[in-house]
Subunit: 353 residues, 2 copies
């Protein structure tokens, strides 16, 4: 493997000194880029793109050619695991993900198998190996997975949801079954992320997109507990370096203290929490990643720059901050505005280091 030239991301995630605050953007490879839309149209469906290692590598690289980003993130979908479990993932145009075979009863939970990552999800591992070759050590590659709770919301509901009636029905009505499903999913995530690390992911992030719809007690029992189990079982060192683990619960601002005790290295924070407050809550236990409102990219480059300055100031002095959006970049954003954000982070952050 090529020597890593820019290791700011890995250093910041481990709270080691850096020259400037590293920056990447959730969903940085995506629809807001015309070159992405072109590759996507060549690939066929969204899942065809995810399952084609060469094209997945291509779209992963696209934002790095435009912006001086400090990390690449694997282009993939969080629902690859349930798809490999046989649920039959498909995307209804304009409706988001759906499953042909949702998991809504005991028999369905019991019949679920834990996929073997190299055989059942080999296309992801092949994409990672291709991206690492292509990156040539320029920046680190982040691998990722959905959290067990978040994967389970789609697996049980069979689609995106607003109120989560089916999975909450299961959680409140059959907590034993809910735990069985989550345990199986967590086991699959451990294998999947460890395979990503073996294939070349230099940091991994667990996206808990829907943990924030739970009560504090339910969050701890049904989401955080399983993320913690994963963190404990992950490969934490590879290629002679620590592999940092980032947990991100959208809407999890009230639970940062509990999340920081999971054994992870860093927490993603959305924009509803001030980084200064978050830092007080987690102390020097973990790094923080975030947290500008992605809608800021609808305003002017000058306004974006000012808002970047505010986020940098809210984190304050010292390492342990990875600049990011508080959620994925929206598909109708002007790419030049994303560039303004990335440049502003690099230009305005040296004073904090």
């Amino acid at each position: 493997m090529a020597v890593l030239k820019n290791d700011r991301l890995l250093r910041a995630l481990l709270r080691e000194p850096v020259d400037v605050t590293p920056v990447w953007m959730m969903r940085q490879a995506g629809r807001y880029l015309p070159e992405y839309r072109e590759t996507r149209s060549k690939a066929g469906s969204f899942m065809d793109l995810c399952m084609n290692p060469e094209l997945a590598c291509e779209v992963t690289m696209q934002p790095l050619r435009r912006f001086p980003l400090d990390a690449a993130i694997l282009f993939s979908d969080i629902l690859t695991i349930p798809d490999a479990m046989g649920l039959g993932l498909y995307f209804a145009e304009g409706e988001g993900p759906r499953f042909h075979h949702p998991v809504q009863n005991e028999a369905a939970v019991k019949s679920l198998g834990v996929p073997d990552p190299e055989t059942d999800l080999g296309y992801v591992m092949d994409a990672i190996r291709a991206i690492r070759r292509e990156l040539k050590g320029s920046v680190p590659l982040i691998g990722f997975s959905g959290s067990p709770w978040t994967l389970a919301t789609y697996m049980v509901e069979g689609s995106s949801s607003k109120n989560f009636p089916k999975i909450k029905g299961m959680m409140f009505g059959r907590p034993d079954l809910m735990h069985q499903l989550l345990a199986k999913t967590a086991a699959a995530v451990v294998l999947y992320l460890n395979a990503q690390i073996s294939a070349g992911a230099q940091a991994v992030m667990i996206f808990d997109t829907w943990g924030g719809v739970l009560s504090p007690a339910d969050y701890r029992a049904f989401s955080l507990a399983y993320m913690q189990r994963i963190v404990e079982e992950l490969t934490r060192e590879n290629e002679g370096r620590r592999v940092p683990v980032i947990l991100f619960t959208k809407g999890g601002g009230q639970w940062l203290e509990a999340m920081a005790q999971s054994g992870c290295d860093a927490l993603g924070v959305d924009w509803t929490t001030d980084l200064a407050d978050a830092r007080k809550l987690v102390g020097d236990r973990v790094a923080l990643q975030g947290n500008i409102d992605p809608c800021i990219l609808y305003s002017s480059p000058e306004q974006i720059r000012a808002a970047v300055g505010q986020v940098l100031a809210s984190y304050g002095n010292g390492s342990g901050h990875v600049f990011n959006l508080g959620h994925g970049i929206h598909p109708d954003v002007n790419p030049d505005h994303a560039l303004a954000l990335v440049k502003a982070v690099h230009e305005l952050s040296p004073e904090y280091h």
Copy 2:
């Protein structure tokens, strides 16, 4: 006006002693009730129902005939104000509210008028007067409005939204214009709620459904500041009693301390915050209303009862708690389960008083 027989709600909102914890449910008059669906089908459209004082009164009363609730809440929609401003509210089947004339530029903001409640929204005041006659002093009637920020999200987006690109574009790009729109909307809310109080509303609630999509600083500047302005200008006494004001920001758990300083009497709390933690944050400044996950109503009456017990225990001893769901009741809930919840609150709460 008839003497109020059951004043638990008003007492609890003012943290005065009560015998049992009062309970009502957000959207208690609604689609989960077959009698509501019948009245609705007679009325025509949803807005036809809202605009017909007699039928609005009828559906307001329906849940009180089924359940021993401690309050009635006006049946109406939060978007009556922008409709009266001339935006042309309509409901596309299965798609939620929409406006024919969204407010997306300076000219549109400047041309907005502040509606006169008795002339432009007289159907709401007539409904309140009818409901008070019908209630005969059995329980108090709660009036309500959307918060300026929440109303503005619909007014600017022109519909429901997931990411709020248009209003956030305005907020970040033209904060001056955003403030003009919010100031006008706040003035309309003040007139509207004061007219509701004059017509007979014995408590009022401000629903800030979308304040939770903001950063802490933006929440304070663009949502809380305007709710505070409203609180300051509301009639706080009528018919010889204090008229309590409840603020509810969905997803506002991180901001309860700031909200409690607004001058309101009570805060609505969703289920993502533990009431014990909320109580620590607000001290004895305000009462708390909430906060069971509405999805609990998908589980069995026994499970509902156990969950009610947990919420009562989380608030603990003493007055100042109004039991409620953390958000509106879902339309596919079994009404018998709602009954189980209401009864459980009354049966399990005396030990805390």
